[in-house]
Symmetry: C2
Amino acid sequence: MGKKLTKRSEDYSKWYNELVVGADLAENSGVRGCMVIKPYGFAIWEKMQAALDKMFKETGHENAYFPLFIPKSYLSKEASHVEGFAKECAVVTHYRLKNADDGSGIIVDPEAKLEEELIVRPTSETIIWDTYRRWIQSYRDLPLLINQWANVVRWEMRTRLFLRTAEFLWQEGHTAHATEKEAIEEAEQMMNVYAEFAENHMAMPVIKGLKSESERFAGAVETYCIEALMQDGKALQAGTSHFLGQNFAKAFDVKFANKEGKQEHVWATSWGVSTRLMGALIMTHSDDNGLVLPPKLAPIQVVIVPIYKGLEQLDAISEKVNLLVKELRSKGISVKYDNRDTHKPGFKFNEYELKGVPVRLAIGQRDLANGTYEVARRDTLEKHTVSMDEVVDKIEFLLEDIQNNIYQKAFDFKASNITEVNSYEEFKSVLEEKGGFISAHWDGTIETENRIKEETKATIRCVPIDAKIEEGSCIITGKTSNKRVLFAKAY
Amino acid sequence: MGKKLTKRSEDYSKWYNELVVGADLAENSGVRGCMVIKPYGFAIWEKMQAALDKMFKETGHENAYFPLFIPKSYLSKEASHVEGFAKECAVVTHYRLKNADDGSGIIVDPEAKLEEELIVRPTSETIIWDTYRRWIQSYRDLPLLINQWANVVRWEMRTRLFLRTAEFLWQEGHTAHATEKEAIEEAEQMMNVYAEFAENHMAMPVIKGLKSESERFAGAVETYCIEALMQDGKALQAGTSHFLGQNFAKAFDVKFANKEGKQEHVWATSWGVSTRLMGALIMTHSDDNGLVLPPKLAPIQVVIVPIYKGLEQLDAISEKVNLLVKELRSKGISVKYDNRDTHKPGFKFNEYELKGVPVRLAIGQRDLANGTYEVARRDTLEKHTVSMDEVVDKIEFLLEDIQNNIYQKAFDFKASNITEVNSYEEFKSVLEEKGGFISAHWDGTIETENRIKEETKATIRCVPIDAKIEEGSCIITGKTSNKRVLFAKAY
């Protein structure tokens, strides 16, 4: 605290790292690439979890829990899946430590070597489909609509708090269906659930779309995604929902008897969002003073800071504040009265600004005399003097208004950062000078996609669901194309 | 379904295993010792989590998340801790797989060997205290009251669903305090929170007590526990809360400046309950027909089964039932209307009996004509015909009455299965013929404890908190003792 953040305009990446640590969201641990999610950061994640979990249950899903470990042989069963996930994973090879004979400490017991190595799950399709084989016999067992909240591990070489860590928290939905149509509808439904969550709770506008073949999930037939735009003009994939076809059902031999008694392979989806959303949340709204949180996800929605000298003044203030706290809580508003005598009001103001508390009230002697509070909103930093009679209404208004205002601001930013280009020259200059999403015609080939990626670092973020059909020609090859796709540099 | 459970009196252990699988709570996975928690079982665990989490937050704790992996060297820092936990753990030695050169599949890449092995956390004291060193500087940073919901791994050789699995889910609280007194109070408080949860939510009476030295947590100064009694006369440790003294603070060099500016080591506690509670819940209440669930933890509190022939009859029934469902839900009662046409009423009755749904309603043509429901309670299996006007009141009464009734039944069972003995002969015969807790004088030595354990398999479950001071002599050595302790065979 006290030390100012690096400005976003100076070094966005440095600003991000300072903010994540400074606002008590997360920090690096003694284990390479693994983060500690601190209580304040975890409280935001819990609010995300609660909202998502409710939406999953409302769409008929149930939670379950599958093993952390995946036998090595399972990973190999789906050919493209193993290519995508075998590369960077944590491998358990032994099950015991022992004291070294020379007294030098504890060592891995060479006699406790596993017959088959276990992989710490990077994702759970394989262990889950191995289980579904036992659960699914008949069309009566379908659909199977299951979600799991879990930790997963992918051995990333370059890590960044929340955005890319070796271990992260996520949810993974895994569903099984009798028909292709139903599975596709499920995959689309979950993309829509994610988009609704991003926009209504995180106040983060997203673009819904389909991934190109090269960006697809390893083992998927089609990957649906939601893409968001960060303040620095880079895109961030915020959630994916995969139509898996019958790939995993075939790999794990999961069949069901249909109504006519005929055996068929099951159709599948999987879908997930992770603690990466924390990074997206931070980079969508925050400013040079610190975090800006949407009221719906803020662990503390309102903070009240007393300004006083001596216990007598504090008591007089507390008498008023305690009534207000009670009233706000009865309305389901989370409020903190920070009457610590170990810190000065100015210090507290900075702290809550850094932590993104949406509404801050201050009350001093003059306020007490006038029957007012000073009310500050975090998004615009505006302050108003509000009478005690009206302060509850004002707070309720502000919580809604801030939620809407930061969404609108992010929406406008995104809208003004989708640029249509019609040549590769234009593409490169927009990418360099403006950033954001670039909407361009593409011939649909991996070769073209790869060339653009190699030359510019931009990738195809998605083919937007609502892309309009129009005649065009690929900016690289000039071949005909019937819709534009979105390119961007991405996190 | 359809197949009857083995009777408890025939083979308690077999009954338990059949019930866990039959009631769709959990099953073994393809990974040795790791279970799959199925949706119905997980829904019960979620209810436990929600109730506990609320109690933790009401007592001032916050949630956070720490890494899954613990560097091998951390484990060694606290001498007695490493002895307790290094033995049976999953060790990550490599971070990559690759295709075998001979095309035989994927193998561990020998070039991707970790410099230091990582242990999959068996418990998190070491990684957390390594973190707390960074978080704690001054008395202002204390107390630090943190809880984590997580998965942990202990490589058990003989596993049983919920009771002892290689991977299990749990919560682990880890707190730091400025004084010894405050840390002891915290450890006691959390034992009390666990007892309250066990008794009020699980309807499971427990005995609060202190562990003997040999049963203490590895690294603890004192271990508080709650012990429950299963129907087969064996005890089950349902939760533990440890006063850790300054052991971990010293091992990880965690000091704080007190109000006088002097550096002191921090005082610590840790406390946890796990999915083992699911086993305790099952073995406390269930019967030969299946699960008996306390209404407070039942995912489905009321099930309604229509008895009909043809769609017309079903429609007439549904019209009534839908109104009832709506009314019950508005009262926060979870209700399922099972109008599946793929199964007969008798099948459904058995299914919900097996799954322990507290209240079952049935409605057929005669009920419809008479304006009644047939209402059955799971605990006593009693049935009554209740008029539609009174059915909501009746259900509300039953949910409360079942919760109380099964608690009282378990309480009476426990009370009648604590036997005071005054000689080793008596001890052995009670243990053999009756089981349960045996209350006896003990000389306080590990030697005596070990001898009893070796000869009878009974261990000291705890020194009850409310043990009365009385003169006595150890049943083995005859040495004086001033209070009785509780022995039992245990899960």
